[in-house]
């Protein structure tokens, strides 16, 4: 087993071009779990010392988060807390403190679990990620990042460099909720983040990101189209459920059932829309 721990980004990229089989490791909170301590089949590229991948930067258009930024750093960052509160909330909901101190945002999305807690928020905010290699730098909208169960568009010679999260318009509703077995340190049964701007009949932006309801984290496009396509008020529960049915590919697994997930997903959508549910007359009966 070999261990490479470069300090410079260009060294890390050069190593990965030469040895695309190297496994990048950041906080290690995914990689170290269940690893057989005697297994030594792999060589690792530790990113922990690459200072260029750290830090959270404010830009005029949004917040640029280095792949190595930890959940603790994100959850406490004043600009993130003020301008991107759903992201601060998801970072604080990712494991308990000892995990948050090590877990990185880059690792959370590169691990590519459909249950990754920060994924719904990045989808809702319309984030993009940068993938770097010796040859080039490319930017990928996060909604195009996951191509299948645990598969991403990252190529083996690429490092995830930065996650860019644009600011939301003033007056937007930022929503995040994770439903799990207990509040701390549980893998979600369903997670929803939403960014809602405007009002029924005059929406400017409607984005719903889900975790744990399909093979990858998903942006619920049918749901958004149904909501923005309703001329007055909000669609009724049947309409929301029908749209969700088209977006979700929920399954039974060890943590929950598909039926439970669909029910909870609908409840979370209703909660996200709560400020408008009694306007426009569509929910007068409730």
């Amino acid at each position: 087993m070999r261990w490479y721990a470069p300090r410079k980004l260009h060294e890390a990229l050069a190593l990965l071009t030469e040895r695309p089989d190297l496994i990048p490791i950041a906080g290690g909170t995914d990689i170290m779990v269940g690893r057989d301590p005697r297994a030594c089949g792999h060589d690792y590229l530790s990113l922990a010392n690459v200072a260029a991948l750290r830090g959270i930067r404010e830009t005029p258009a949004g917040v640029a988060i280095g792949a190595l930024a930890t959940m603790t750093e994100i959850g406490r960052h004043p600009i993130v807390c003020r301008a991107l509160p759903a992201l601060a909330a998801s970072a604080r909901a990712t494991g308990a403190f000892a995990i948050q101190n090590r877990a990185t945002l880059g690792g959370n999305i590169m691990n590519a679990s459909p249950a990754a807690d920060n994924a719904p928020v990045l989808l809702a905010y319309g984030a993009s990620v940068s993938l770097m290699s010796v040859a080039r730098l490319r930017h990928v909208p996060y909604e195009n990042f996951h191509s299948g169960y645990k598969v991403t568009v990252r190529r083996p010679e690429e490092i995830l460099g930065e996650i860019f999260v644009p600011y939301a318009p003033l007056g937007a509703r930022h929503y995040f909720r994770k439903v799990g077995t207990r509040r701390a340190q549980a893998i979600s049964k369903v997670g929803l983040a939403a960014l809602l701007v405007g009002r029924p009949g005059a929406w400017e932006r409607v984005r719903f990101g889900f975790s744990s309801v399909a093979a990858t984290p998903i942006l619920a496009c049918a749901l958004a189209a149904t909501i923005t396509g309703t001329a007055r008020g909000l669609p009724d529960d049947e309409g929301l459920a029908e749209a969700l049915g088209r977006d979700l590919a929920a399954r039974d697994d060890i943590r929950s059932t598909a039926e439970y997930r669909r029910r909870i997903a609908l409840n979370l959508v209703r909660e996200a829309l709560a400020p408008w549910r009694h306007q426009g007359g569509c929910d007068a009966g409730q």
Binding site: R2, W3, V33, Y44, A98
Partner: protein
């Protein structure tokens, strides 16, 4: 393959050659002979292996030793003997079988280093990654209240 590592544990320098992915937990308990740090789950879930790495709380079962190079580790044995948490845990019934206790005390120490007088909800959040099968947590929260001078 092993790689040379140098780091500080409880104020003393440690150096040696280790397989890079060897867990900090195993190095502490094995090479360093510091057995307060316990292995409960080996998966980051229970917190019984919690230590401070450069003053932040981590689960030592999830830290590869190569990552500790050049850094500073504090285990339960490295806390001052008169840390008020020790007497408080004993007085309030915050410890029974004791397996979770070193991790609980390290998590409590990290909390008190950050916040002088945490309230119950801050305490619960800070300890949510530490599982106890004996005490029902009441004695543990009381210990932290006592140690931070807020009565029992």
């Amino acid at each position: 393959m092993t790689i040379p590592c140098r780091f500080i544990v409880n104020g003393s320098a440690v150096s040696g050659s280790f397989p890079p992915m060897r867990r900090l937990l195993d190095v502490l308990r094995g090479e360093c002979g510091l057995t307060a740090t316990k292995e409960g789950c080996g998966e980051g879930e229970c917190g019984s292996c919690a230590v401070l790495l450069d003053d932040t709380l981590v689960n030592s079962c999830l830290v590869p030793i190569a990552d500790v190079n050049g850094r500073e580790v504090t285990t339960l044995e490295g806390l001052p003997k008169d840390d008020p948490l020790f007497a408080a845990f004993a007085a309030t019934g915050g410890t029974q079988c004791g397996i979770c206790t070193p991790g609980m005390i390290m998590a409590a120490r990290a909390l008190l280093n950050d916040c002088l007088r945490p309230d119950l909800s801050q305490t619960r959040e800070a300890l949510s990654g530490n599982l106890c099968r004996c005490t029902g947590y009441g004695g543990i929260y009381a210990a932290i209240r006592t140690a931070s001078g807020q009565g029992e």
